[in-house]
């Protein structure tokens, strides 16, 4: 295995230059804003989340919020379920919405305005909370709405990036591993039947590992192959995430 050093570590008061350009080009694999949220605030959010029931979805057993990848053949169901999950997300975050400060920070990094995407007045899922339970890992994959979800209007946005806020760390494991390799359509012959890609796709490819530290905000280009190592210990790895795509020079839309 070859390790790579394409991670930018920063804090919430610093704005690294050319963040978006470097993520899109692949020069940077990830920007990690350490201690973006205090541990105290993360714990408060976790308590708020705990009273809500999670559902299962594509590649994950427990989540709150929807992901278009689970609905590539059923767009109307996505928007129906999203209506409900957005209501729950708003209730969960009614006193303490981390998405607001994520938007504020990311808009400074991207030099653009961000709002959640809509299609024909129907809102897209306004984020997804994922619970990776101990023993669970996420196989190598990439995220690319332009290719996978061509029926959805977000597929027309350019330069997809992904923002993930670590709300709870696992005791061990749960690292996000990102490889120095972008997906291209010829890779589709390496697809697994159920989820993700064959390990062959990342053979001899250098990689970076990002620990799941509570309070860190991680921004990646999800078109690079990535995976999540097995979560070990007693605690679930809990994250809040969404994608962003560029509509115009200074306007970005978010969805999950």
């Amino acid at each position: 295995m070859i390790t790579s050093n394409k991670l930018i570590l920063t804090t919430k008061d610093v704005i690294p230059t050319n963040t978006y350009k470097n993520l899109i080009s692949g020069k940077t694999s990830a920007v990690i804003i350490q201690n973006f949220l205090t541990k105290h605030r993360c714990k408060k959010i976790i308590r708020d989340i705990a009273i809500y029931e999670a559902s299962s979805g594509c590649g994950i057993k427990e989540k709150i919020g929807e992901s278009i990848n689970s609905y590539v053949s059923n767009k109307s169901e996505y928007f129906t379920k999203t209506k409900i999950s957005n209501y729950y997300l708003r209730k969960i975050f009614s006193y303490n919405d981390p998405r607001k400060i994520m938007f504020e920070k990311i808009s400074k990094l991207l030099h653009g305005k961000i709002k959640f995407a809509r299609e024909n007045s129907m809102p897209y899922s306004e984020g997804i909370i994922r619970f990776h339970i101990p023993g669970e890992s996420v196989h190598i994959h990439r995220d690319n709405a332009s290719f996978d979800a061509s029926e959805f209007s977000v597929s027309k946005l350019s330069g997809q990036i992904s923002a993930i806020l670590h709300l709870q760390s696992s005791e061990l494991g749960g690292e996000l591993v990102i490889f120095d390799k972008f997906w291209n359509c010829h890779d589709e012959c390496f697809r697994n039947q159920d989820f993700g890609y064959s390990d062959k796709i990342i053979k001899k490819i250098s990689w970076s590992s990002i620990s799941c530290n509570q309070g860190d905000l991680v921004i990646i280009n999800p078109k690079k192959y990535h995976l999540i190592n097995m979560v070990r210990g007693k605690l679930k790895r809990i994250t809040l995430g969404f994608f962003l795509g560029q509509e115009s020079e200074s306007n970005f839309h978010a969805w999950s």
């Binding site: 590539v72 029926e151 697809r191």
Partner: protein, 95 residues
């Protein structure tokens, strides 16, 4: 039980047929299939492709199927040696 194969669409031939690069075959399949098969599809869950064959055009199939990883439930083999299948999206490349 129906035989099932998976693979990537490499070429659109007509508004109901395409070439498939077969990458996976169900272990319990009764028949074996070539690396390249021509598929005639009777139905699909791909939203951009109209169910009615006469309402489809090659461009719609190019956009909806080209390079995509799909699942084919095999119904029969026709006189042209093409596999007659139900075609659907398979799995997910991401989440």
């Amino acid at each position: 039980m129906t035989d099932i194969i998976w693979g990537n669409v490499t070429k659109i031939i007509s508004n109901s047929t395409f070439e498939l690069n077969v990458t996976h075959q169900k272990e319990e399949n009764k028949e074996t299939y070539s690396e390249i098969e021509i598929i005639e599809f009777t139905e699909t869950d791909i939203m951009s492709i109209p169910a009615d064959e006469n309402s489809r055009d090659i461009t719609q199939l190019e956009q909806g199927l080209r390079d995509k990883f799909i699942k084919c439930d095999i119904l029969s083999r026709n006189e042209q040696n093409q596999l007659v299948c139900k075609v659907s999206h398979s799995g997910a490349g991401g989440y």
